[in-house]
């Protein structure tokens, strides 16, 4: 791909090769490749301290890479940072707003910095305040905003000019479920209008819900990448849930399942229901047959794919919490 050519319409939104960032001895980002096509929601998933934020800061020109190269919308990160800045927007983990100013003043300030003048800047601010359901709070100082309102304003502040790539660093950390859902809805809508979104998250369900592709990062290295489904398949297991009609035969059923599948049964708190990892659906069906052969009546069963949590823990190794 064309790192050198600044006007390359076909260039991917993000093309990073072997990015490295060191803080003293620590290699916070340790040789990460990333290819994000235009218009995609791409999630970087990892625990705290994995290097997600540092990776994103490099791509947003806020930190200079110590190694590797990258281009954003065809512009080289190191050679043409100002061109990169003109096609990106970043909403950091901590509100990147002036808390002393009102929501409207914040947006007008940024609109002016982008080059909107006087009335046009105010009109753009009002437009965004309306779109993000903040019109009523426009004249309030940001320090009086709720967490959800702050996030919305923060994202609105990134959309003064429609960016080619929008970086969102942990966009829903600290939000209540309602706030989370509304931010998710906005992100989907943005992607729908053609904006490439690169987001970091430590929530598996967030990556699962939003992203077309997910890169899993740990200790500064990419340990897996793919669609949510691919990652789950790669982990190679699903979970079989079984409810037994006669609770008296629960122990017997558990023993039969363990014998067939070679893994450990987990019992639900209420009793009566069993969950056990099964490698394939064939194994699971076979295990169910074993129960029927023994005359144990199955009241209900289901085969679930592993949650992204399970995928993540199996990739990064158990023991981390």
């Amino acid at each position: 791909m064309n790192h050198g050519h600044s006007q390359n319409g076909a260039a991917p939104a993000i093309d990073a090769r072997g990015l490295v960032k060191c803080f003293g001895e620590l290699r916070a980002v340790d040789g990460i490749d990333l290819a994000v096509p235009r218009g995609m929601i791409f999630a970087i998933l990892g625990p705290n301290g994995a290097g997600k934020t540092t990776l994103m800061r490099m791509l947003a020109t806020l930190a200079r890479p110590d190694g590797g190269s990258a281009s954003v919308m065809g512009h080289d990160l190191v050679a043409e940072p100002q061109k990169v800045r003109s096609v990106i927007a970043m909403t950091g983990q901590f509100a990147s707003l002036d808390e002393d100013l009102t929501g409207r003043e914040n947006l007008v300030m940024l609109a002016r910095l982008w080059g909107f003048r006087g009335r046009a800047a105010r009109a753009r601010a009002d437009e965004l305040l309306g779109a993000f359901e903040l019109a009523d709070a426009a004249a309030k100082q940001v320090k009086d905003y709720s967490g959800g309102m702050r996030r919305r304003l923060d994202i609105a502040a990134s959309l003064i000019v429609t960016p080619g790539v929008l970086f969102l660093d942990e966009p829903t950390t600290g939000l209540d479920p309602v706030g989370r859902k509304s931010v998710w809805r906005m992100i989907r809508q943005l992607a729908g209008s053609g904006v490439t979104v690169l987001l970091t998250t430590q929530y598996m369900d967030e990556a699962d819900q939003l992203a077309a592709r997910i890169a899993v990062i740990d200790h500064g290295k990419k340990i897996a990448e793919g669609t949510s489904r691919e990652l789950k398949v790669a982990t190679g297991s699903g979970v079989l849930h079984v409810a037994v009609a006669d609770p008296a035969r629960l122990d017997e059923a558990a023993q039969l399942l363990e014998a067939r599948l070679g893994t450990t049964v987990q019992r639900s708190a209420e009793g009566g229901a069993l969950a056990i990892a099964a490698k394939t659906s064939h194994d699971a069906t076979d295990a169910l047959n074993k129960l029927l052969d023994a005359g144990i009546e199955v009241a209900d069963f289901s085969m679930g794919s592993p949650s992204l949590d399970e995928v993540f823990f199996s990739l990064t190794g158990a023991g981390r919490k």
Binding site: L62, R64, R85, S86, D98, M109, L113, W114, R124, F132
Partner: protein, 262 residues
Amino acid sequence: MNSLPQVARPPAPSAISNALVFGWRAVLKFKHLPEQLFDLVMTPIMFTLLFTFVFGGALAGSPGAYLQYFIPGILVQTVVFNSVYSGMGLSTDLGKGLFDRFRSLPIWSLSPFAGLMVGDFLRHLIAGLIILTIGLILGFRPEAGILGVAGAFLLLLSIGFGVGWIFIVLGLLIRTPMTVMTLSFSFIFPLVFASNIMVNPETMPGWLRAFVAVNPISHMTTALRGLMSGGVTGREILLALAAPIVLTVVLAPLTIIIYRRR
């Protein structure tokens, strides 16, 4: 969020236009935080009143005579103290991620600092005028008249501009605003007190007099007194401007380097 049409970028604004936006932000801060003006002028007002009436008679024979000596000095002190606040403000901004947004914008990378300077100028001007007014009410009479006072304020703003770089650098380097303040005052206090702001150095021990004689704060104060009372020499003004000029020449490029490396 209902609908979001694509919005293209308007023509890129000039560096000056960027800087003016940050200046506007500084003015809005005054609107929303009028209490910062209170912090700004309370200390110098207290200093003026206490020094004039408590020490004035002992130091200069009478409070009135001391006021004549002290007002130009307290103006210098106020400007230097006030510069610390902009370093603290910068440290606060940096801690909140606001500067990350500024830095990810396609703007002249130094424009946020230009805005900081605008805010400083306003602070210095407002605090200076309030102190001057109180001085005039108490009986301070600048013999050089309005032109002298105007010249003194120009010099004050230049001092503020030069000294301001120290605290901008500290604000960039230090994460916690409180530490910026503590560290700043730990070297500002000795510099301000071991000068000719409050007392004529004649009665100080020889080694201290030697320090006062080379202390840039003393030179600033001497020139300001000269401007307000008339009879200032070109040499005095040059000496007063030496430190601000050196600070600007050394620290402005350093600011750029630190800011870009962050």
